[in-house]
């Protein structure tokens, strides 16, 4: 640890020197950041970069589009290495622990960034950012991603590259239906519209299920613990909950807010389709596309694919046909502060033998110019994350209400809430996942949350209370850790 921190300090010192030196390279600033990256990368022509990507749809981008393009421009070959999402961390750390330098460019899940950075697996990027004049374009990444998915303790370790946020989708045909509208107003005294609070969400969901089931249910949400924990984190904070006491670092997850949210989540299942407790990503998605549920909350690709964007693309042929293509409505989920669930940043492996080239590729991918193309790939899983993506006229005309879609994503990128991020976050999340599966098993919410708090306290004690407190407060003081 001590040697590593000395090395880190040296690197930071080196990077400040590099700032001075970089003034000489600034004459190139007339070019775009993408061009600068290409220009500088040419000297590495002939090398190969190993790029670690989440398996599945994600790697299609570097494999089919950006990889070949980059090779044409710079002569650097891109070798995409795929790993399932739950293996990304393992593979990264494994390579680091072994000092094998197997990867150059990494896809980093933001809430794992502190672990990876503090373990020394990630290369600090400030020196490169300055050397290649990228700060300005970095600043144009939508604020929540820029401020929260880039740095650990003030040092840049990743280029935020994915606007992952859980937003709400609703079926406009159901919400605009005159009979539904009249009936709902008569019962609850306000207009049937996308709910602004969880109370409204429940009332609308219940009403629609009561009138339309079993053909259509009011809502269907993530319920598998791994995904439901994102929704819990969001709703818990919307209800005013805090994860820890900032002074004592005692877990406060078992507060009134926690208990009421847990109870609410169980109540909500009653108007969702039978078996919803097992729903992961694909179930609410396919049910929504089939018109079987009126509301759902999910990642941005759902909003595009439900609207029929990318239809006919070979890579998306596993997606069931959408029956609601022109009826998709977009809104922020209740509370208006959507969860910035997961997401990706580009990082450079500290063990890489081609750090500079690896950084340049990341800068090029992440730049205004190239990222705009990437987020519009029909099969992309990278979601708009730059202010310019949201306002891009081409993107806004991709389907009839693509503009609405991008506006909601933009709003989410301002008010969104960060995933809890600590040292060894995964252990805390694991306990949370376990708590949620107990919840579906009908155990008592208070009892579950008391246990969860106990487990968290034990973890904190093991990791080191002071150390963890520092990291937590660092996180909690970010503008998007808690709703304003």
């Amino acid at each position: 640890m001590s040697i590593q921190s000395i090395v880190r300090k040296l690197l930071i010192a080196a990077s400040t020197i590099a700032v001075g030196l970089s003034l000489t390279t600034l004459e190139a600033s007339a070019q775009s950041a993408a061009d600068r990256a290409v220009e500088a990368a040419k000297k590495y022509s002939g090398t190969t970069l190993n790029v670690l990507y989440e398996a599945g749809l994600q790697p299609l981008d570097p494999k089919n589009f950006t990889g070949p393009l980059w090779e044409k421009l710079t002569g650097i070959k891109i070798n995409v290495i795929e790993a399932p999402i739950d293996q990304l961390f393992t593979k990264t750390m494994q390579a680091h622990k072994a000092g094998s330098g197997s990867y150059d460019v990494l896809n980093v899940l933001p809430n794992q960034m502190p672990d990876l950075a503090l373990a020394g697996a990630l290369e600090p990027l400030d020196k490169f950012v300055d050397k290649y004049g990228y700060r300005e374009e970095l600043q144009k990444i939508a604020p929540v991603y820029r401020d929260n998915q880039m740095k650990v303790e003030g040092v840049i370790y990743g280029l935020p590259d994915d606007g992952d946020v859980l937003i709400m989708y609703y079926n406009r045909a159901i919400f605009d239906d005159a009979k539904n509208k009249a009936g709902f107003k008569a019962k609850h005294g306000y207009d049937l519209a996308p709910p602004k609070t969880w109370k409204e969400f429940s009332e609308i969901g219940q009403y629609l299920t009561d009138t339309l089931a079993p053909k259509v249910y009011g809502a269907g949400l993530f319920r598998q613990p791994g995904l439901a924990q994102f929704m819990f984190q969001e709703r818990f904070r919307v209800a005013g909950g805090k994860f820890f006491d900032a002074d004592t670092m005692k877990a406060t997850i078992n507060s009134e807010a926690g208990i009421s949210v847990f109870k609410g989540m169980v109540e909500d299942n009653k108007y969702m389709p039978p078996g919803v407790e097992q729903w992961g990503f694909i179930e609410p998605f396919s049910a929504f596309l089939a018109g079987d549920i009126a509301m759902t909350i999910s990642w941005p690709p759902v909003g595009r694919w439900a609207a029929g964007y990318g239809k006919g693309t070979e890579a998306l042929n596993w997606i069931p046909e959408t029956k609601i293509a022109d009826k998709v409505g977009y809104a922020l989920p209740p509370g208006g502060t959507p969860e910035l669930a997961a997401g990706f940043s580009f990082g450079v492996a500290s063990g890489s033998k081609n750090k500079e080239a690896a950084y340049l590729f990341s800068q090029w991918m992440n730049s205004e110019e190239i990222s705009l193309k990437r987020v519009q790939l029909p099969y992309a899983l990278r979601d708009p994350f730059r202010t310019s993506h949201f306002s891009n006229p081409e993107y806004r005309s991709r389907w009839s209400n693509a503009g609405d879609y991008l506006d909601v994503l933009k709003a989410g990128a301002e008010t969104g809430l960060l995933d809890l991020s600590l040292l060894q976050t995964d252990r805390y999340e694991e306990a949370m996942r376990q708590a949620i599966s107990r919840l579906w098993a009908q155990e008592d919410p208070k009892e579950i949350l008391d246990d969860l708090a106990g487990q968290w306290d034990k973890l904190t004690k093991r990791i080191g209370l002071e150390k963890q407190k520092r990291v937590y407060n660092d996180w909690a003081n970010k503008p998007n850790a808690y709703p304003k």
Binding site: Q4, K97, A119, Q434, S437
Partner: protein, 298 residues
Amino acid sequence: MITSNSFADKLDQERWFKYFLIAPAVFIILLIGLYPFVKLILVSFQNITMFDNELSYQGFIHYERLFDDDRLWESILHTIIFTAVALPIELILGFLLALLFLERIPYKQVFVGIILLPTVISPIVAGATWKLMFDQRFGPINQVIAWFAGHEVKLLWNIEPALVWPAIMVAEVWQWTPFMFLILLAALSNVDREQLEAAQIDGASWWMTFRKIVLPAIMPVMFIALLIRGLDLFRVFDVVWTMTKGGPGTMTETISIYAYHMAFREFDVSYSAAIAFLIILILTVIVVAALRRMEVSR
């Protein structure tokens, strides 16, 4: 025996030959088997974690942690229960199957061949297959149950605490019962026919015949089969990994899954070495005890 010895004597002048033959195998096993073992012991006394890389001697701190780790003992408990339930089921089903195929049956080869299939496919594929089978919406299991129940069922095989274990158990039993079946079939075919017929003539009941003649005859083989399967079940990893990854929560976490988690998720390297050592210790005790018993029963 005498011939064997004199044969070896004759070869004495070429003593090197026997070592020459066995050397490569021993070398490879030492290289890949012994080195990791020694490394394990070393690492378990150091302190290598995600953040630290302390290589000096740290005493028994990681072994002490073992006793304070509820999740570890829970995972061991899961493993033991899993083994204790799956093993007898496999044995009994395998035995019944063997009885069925012991007698004349047309197309026996074809039947046996098909039944054999699960045992030779990858446990990962078996796990994936059952994961798809048990999907509450798109899988056929709930559908079949619905036919019998006469109404729609939505059993949550991957989440309901009461159902996750049975689901994994079904996959495991499906894959390995044929293994038991084949071994027991071979053992049963070797039971002395004449003895059986004699017992029948004496008017012995089915149960008596089984206890007095069949069981003793197949006992040694059955014992080995149980030992092999028991060890496999104790280190079960692949099927659980594909079906639940130990979840929901840690509900289906077996000792191997937990060891993986500590090593490759938490990178608590030294502690995971201590866990590995504990597992090896447990297995050694089981095997030695089992072999002792076998010696006695022989």
